[in-house]
């Protein structure tokens, strides 16, 4: 059983803010969905599986990078060729 507190914690872990009014709905749907996922408990066997391909590699050859305009054109906050981001410290 997932509580509203758990959902808030998951929101922190996922770095997603949750509005007060959304908490109840999220908690209810998480419980229904996770309960449905419990069917996986009956699965046996190893996690491991994958495609057949291995060692897909490219040669160490330089390919032209994007032009400076293309690099920054989608960013709203830039400064002297840098992207601007919120402070981390």
């Amino acid at each position: 059983m997932i509580t509203e507190k758990d959902v808030e914690h998951i929101g922190m872990l996922a770095d997603i803010a949750i509005l007060r009014g959304e908490l109840e709905e999220f908690t209810a749907s998480f419980n229904r969905i996770l309960e449905y996922f419990d069917i996986l408990d009956q699965v046996t066997g190893e996690e491991k599986d994958g495609g057949a391909a291995v060692n897909v590699l490219r040669e160490d050859e330089v390919v032209p990078s994007l032009s400076p305009q293309d690099v920054l054109s989608n960013a709203k906050e830039t400064e002297d060729g840098f992207f601007r981001a919120p402070r981390v410290m």
């Binding site: 929101g11 996922f37 699965v43 996690e47 054109s73």
Partner: protein, 434 residues
């Protein structure tokens, strides 16, 4: 190279397109001057690409997805970007941040999803060809609901380079068209090896559909006609299977026990991958910016709350939970084990049959708002997700109607046998519409 400009002004009363390009440039080639619609999660240089999400509004990719380059090389005119459930998360196209798309067959109903815009554009005759993407049925579901043809190719057969990732290990770009021949043509243009995609297979697709299916063994898993499948839909699909039998195919009923948990495995996998894939939308490099006056985590949490819709946030959070310490073993690891069982089920079946057939969707198109409960919406994907989990090709071809609404016949094939899947669909289509 001779070039031309195509004026494209569709009567888009269904909200199939998020944006159109007119006039659209085209060149020489097999698709010379043919208008092609592109689902909005496929990158188009110079054309806004939003994935139906506010968090990408205004984002104009500086590069073309490999499939878009291939289309241009064959002369196609890229005429617009089609509506979709935000980041592909949905089966109705109601989860688009830019409003739902209507089903051209019945405007009170959803077109299916998540490639609902592409399906509606083709079904309404606005374009003859469209690209969709299929993570757990997102091409086949809207193809079935809108009465068109949609192919999810073998995983790796079409390059994913430029496809905005939702669930990398499951999804494929594929063709959507009014008939099998056109889907086949589009497939032949977009398939092939791409060195920019490490999971790409070196298997070009060059095929002329054949309606000769005598001796083809068709497996019918009981589970595809089980609980939750509308008996009227089941009946229409059985009629279609009978037609194939009359054309010389051998019908073999079989079982697919892994269907019991395939859907759970699918949702755990796609949510986990999505929780990681969608972490890059921080507003630093593209998209609406985060508030640089706030501290990083606060700004980022706000950015994501405002930018993502409810269903996207739900899936990111459950995916985060499924990968988190202490729960990885219960969810993600188990889902991968389940996935192997699904693959093994297919392997076992394909030793005895050449293709597997059943309904594409358990029901006909829903009414708007009908699937408001997320789990109820997830359950409608039950018949399409096995092919994604196993990476095998699967097609949906229209096979009749229930109360005027289209029903899709789904045909799944062996890994790398997209051609055979096309042939069986073609044989049905030609047999039903002589």
């Amino acid at each position: 190279m001779a070039e031309g400009m195509l004026t494209f002004s569709p009567d888009d009363r269904y909200n199939a397109f998020l944006r159109t390009v007119s006039p659209a440039r085209y060149g020489e080639g097999r698709l010379r001057g043919i208008p092609v619609a592109i689902k909005d999660n496929i990158s188009t240089a110079g054309i806004e690409t939003t994935c139906g999400s506010r968090i990408l509004s205004g984002y104009v990719p500086p590069y073309d997805a490999t499939v878009v380059s291939l289309l241009k090389k064959e002369g196609a005119a890229i005429v617009g970007k089609t509506n979709m459930d935000e980041f592909g998360m949905g089966s109705t196209t109601e989860n688009s941040a830019f409003g739902p798309t209507k089903n051209p067959r019945d405007e009170t109903r959803v077109p299916g999803g998540s490639s609902g815009g592409s399906a509606a554009a083709v079904a309404a005759g606005l374009v003859p060809l469209a690209l969709g993407t299929d993570t757990g049925g997102s091409i086949r579901c809207p193809a079935a609901f809108c009465g068109i043809v949609g192919l999810k190719p073998t995983y790796g057969r079409v390059s994913r380079y430029g496809l905005v990732a939702y669930a990398n290990s499951l999804e494929q770009i594929g063709p959507m068209a009014a008939d099998v021949a056109h889907a086949n043509l589009l497939m032949s243009v977009i398939a092939g090896h791409d060195p920019k995609d490490s999971t790409s297979l070196d298997a070009p697709y060059s095929h002329t559909p054949s309606m000769e299916i005598r001796g083809t063994r068709i497996g019918i898993p009981e589970e595809f006609f089980g609980e939750g499948v509308d008996p009227r839909v089941a009946s229409v699909v059985w009629d279609a299977i009978s037609l194939l039998e009359r054309k010389g195919a051998e019908i073999i009923t079989c079982r697919m026990p892994s269907m019991a948990y395939a859907l759970a495995a699918y949702y755990v996998t796609c949510m986990s991958e999505a929780s990681s894939n969608l972490a890059r939308y921080d507003g630093v490099r593209y998209g609406p910016p985060a508030d640089v006056r706030k501290p990083w985590h606060e700004a980022f949490q706000e950015r994501r709350r405002e930018g993502f819709g409810l269903e996207v946030r739900r899936r990111i959070m459950i995916g985060t939970f499924a990968l988190s310490s202490g729960y990885y073993g219960k969810y993600y690891a188990k889902a991968q084990a389940a996935r192997r069982n699904v693959r093994e089920d297919f392997g076992r079946l394909f030793a005895e049959v050449d293709v597997i057939a059943g309904p594409t969707m358990p029901t006909v198109a829903f009414r708007f708002g009908e699937k408001s409960d997320p789990l109820a919406m997830y359950l409608s994907d039950i018949l399409t997700v096995p092919a994604n989990l196993a990476g095998v090709p699967a097609i949906s071809v229209p096979c009749g109607k229930v109360e005027g609404l289209p029903v899709g016949l789904q045909i799944m094939g062996r890994w790398m046998e997209d051609e055979r899947v096309i042939d069986v669909a073609y044989a049905y289509e030609q047999g039903a519409n002589p």
